[in-house]
């Protein structure tokens, strides 16, 4: 077990390593966390993810730009790869909220934003199936079935390609209404997401995961109510 002082020290090094894109530092601190028996879930959430939150703020303030974020992401993945295998079954359950199929819809090659959203899901412990960019619309439905994922995250940066999302949502919901679908990208708004029949929308990568979790619980509630209604 680790005392508070040691814990804080490791968490700070994990966070700093992510913020200053120092992959080596993150790896050393992660190994130390494992050796000293620091709760890996604690290390991921309050070390790595906390660092990424600061990175997000620096990007907002235009102190960091996309290359910096991508390097921070590498540092973060360096830590995740070490810490994740040590999560216990119980923590896995807490951490692994599900599986996500993510991709940029057909005709659209803008994938920088999608990659950032993907990373947030990785940090939060989701298993992510990344289909890349310019993804044929049927592919999302196929991949959902193949992986039995409970979340689909669709990205589009153009107003025309955005229309493809509506088709994907329809295709998937028709087969499996329980899948939670979220959409994002610069041309989208909450209103458009609603019109398309999406279950969730987030403006940026930072909010994407929280919104995904909310979205799933909304769907669960709805489901529970429907079942109540069905059995008198």
């Amino acid at each position: 077990m680790v005392d508070d002082e040691k814990r804080n020290d490791i968490l700070k090094r994990l966070s700093d390593g992510v913020v200053y894109y120092d992959e080596e530092k993150v790896i050393v601190a992660s190994n130390e966390a494992v050796e000293d028996g620091l709760d890996p879930f604690d290390a991921i959430m309050n070390g790595l993810a906390a660092g990424m939150e600061i990175v997000g703020q620096l990007y907002e303030k235009q102190e960091y730009f996309v290359p910096e974020i991508l390097m921070c992401a590498d540092a973060l993945y360096g830590g995740l790869n070490i810490l994740r295998p040590h999560l216990k079954a119980k923590e896995m359950k807490e951490a692994v909220k599900g599986q996500v199929v993510i991709g940029v819809v057909q005709g659209d090659v803008h994938d920088i934003g999608k990659n950032l959203v993907k990373m947030m899901f990785d940090v939060a412990g989701f298993t992510v199936h990344d289909l890349g960019a310019d993804v044929p619309l049927e592919k999302f439905a196929e991949e959902q079935v193949r992986t039995d994922s409970n979340i689909i995250a669709l990205s589009a940066m153009m107003t025309t390609t955005m229309m493809g999302m509506k088709k994907v949502i329809h295709m998937i919901k028709e087969r499996n209404p329980d899948v939670a679908i979220m959409v994002g990208g610069a041309p989208l708004t909450k209103e458009v997401a609603d019109i398309f029949g999406a279950d969730g929308y987030a403006e940026n990568a930072g909010n994407a995961v929280q919104e995904a979790i909310k979205m799933i619980s909304r769907l669960r509630e709805m489901h529970a109510k429907q079942q109540l209604g069905a059995t008198p």
Binding site: F65, E68, M71, D134, T159, T160, T161, G164, P187
Partner: protein
């Protein structure tokens, strides 16, 4: 109305030639096709990218229908990548889907293979032929323009962009090595279009706004490439970047292009101050091609045109390719408001 007796082409060229003018033209160096124009010639969006005749018709329909001051080819981003060996996917659907490149074929500098005969590489000859057709059929009246990408944006089309972005920090020298042959091919491309008769060229380094790269990296890494392209291509040549550019507009201006072009996220009044007055320093912009031009009303468009003119632009210029779904009323409002408000403003001083 300003520009007494001058036709569209003469207005555009006088402006880009840095003469004192009493009008504000309405044109751009980027794609200008609209559905009404396609309809006029019985064309589908997906058939205008590979056929010179259809490409030219799609481009010239816009000035014909709306009095826009230019006709521009091509419309998609993949012409140079294709000449480098990338396979381009052309969609068959009726939706407006721009062609795209499904697979990034170039992994490193060693994989770059420049075409031995650029004049016959990929679609360069198609674009050249489209320019010749435009020159012949409408070139006395409207400005015929073409454009090339900048090397960083082209690199993002042919190689892994994530790696490229990280390498701007980790291995800047390798990035520079990678971009150099791409730059030379882009210069060759621009020269082919000039040879075919283009009145002006726009260099679109749109993968490098402040949304993506820091001003510091822009200055140290991108600017030298932009300067070289400007020198080699020669006048009239415009530099365009989409996205946020207020923080780099002075660096763009330093490259010496005849004009700098920006989109709606740029505060043009601030840019005007940074780059200095016309006719030496030209600022083109900055209509929002989707939120206002497509989703807005004609009144919204007119307001944005007036705001841009009040902000000090020297031409009303959509901040990116005109979106094909732009309604006819909005196209008309753009051109008419520019004419009326522009000359009023110029007279008023």
């Amino acid at each position: 109305m300003g520009g007494n007796g001058l036709n569209s082409r003469e207005k555009v060229l006088k402006l880009l030639n840095h003469e004192e003018v009493d009008f504000i033209p309405c044109f751009s160096g980027m794609g200008n096709i609209v559905m009404d124009g396609l309809k006029k010639y019985g064309l589908q969006f997906n058939e205008v990218h590979q056929d010179a005749r259809k490409m030219a018709l799609a481009a010239k329909a816009t000035p014909e229908l709306f009095g826009y001051d230019c006709a521009i080819v091509p419309f998609d981003f993949n012409v140079c990548a294709e000449a480098l060996g990338s396979k381009v996917q052309y969609y068959k659907t009726e939706d407006i889907l721009y062609p795209s490149i499904p697979e990034k074929i170039i992994k490193s500098f060693e994989d770059i293979k420049l075409p031995s005969d650029p004049e016959n590489a990929g679609r360069f000859p198609v674009v050249m032929e489209a320019i010749r057709i435009l020159k012949k059929e409408t070139g006395n009246d409207v400005a015929v323009g073409s454009w090339v990408l900048g090397p960083f944006t082209l690199a993002g089309q042919v190689t892994d962009l994530t790696k490229l972005l990280k390498d701007t920090f980790k291995k800047p020298n390798e990035v520079i090595q990678f971009l150099t042959p791409l730059r030379d091919l882009l210069i060759a491309e621009a020269k082919l279009y000039q040879k075919a008769g283009a009145d002006f060229i726009t260099v679109r380094e749109m993968g490098t706004p402040v949304d993506l790269l820091s001003p510091r990296v822009w200055k140290s890494m991108i600017q030298p490439f932009m300067i070289k392209m400007r020198e080699e291509i020669g006048s009239p040549v415009v530099l365009h970047i989409c996205g946020k550019t207020n923080e780099i507009i002075h660096f763009m201006h330093e490259c010496g292009y005849d004009a700098v072009s920006v989109e709606h996220q740029n505060d043009v009044a601030m840019s005007r101050q940074k780059i200095g007055p016309p006719p030496k320093n030209l600022l083109l912009g900055n209509l929002n091609t989707y939120k206002v031009m497509v989703e807005g009303t004609a009144e919204n468009v007119a307001n944005e045109v007036r705001a841009a003119i009040d902000g000090g632009v020297d031409a009303i210029w959509p901040g990116c390719d005109i979106w094909p779904g732009t309604p006819a009323e909005n196209m008309k409002a753009m051109v008419e408001t520019t004419r009326e408000y522009g000359s009023k403003k110029k007279k008023g001083g």
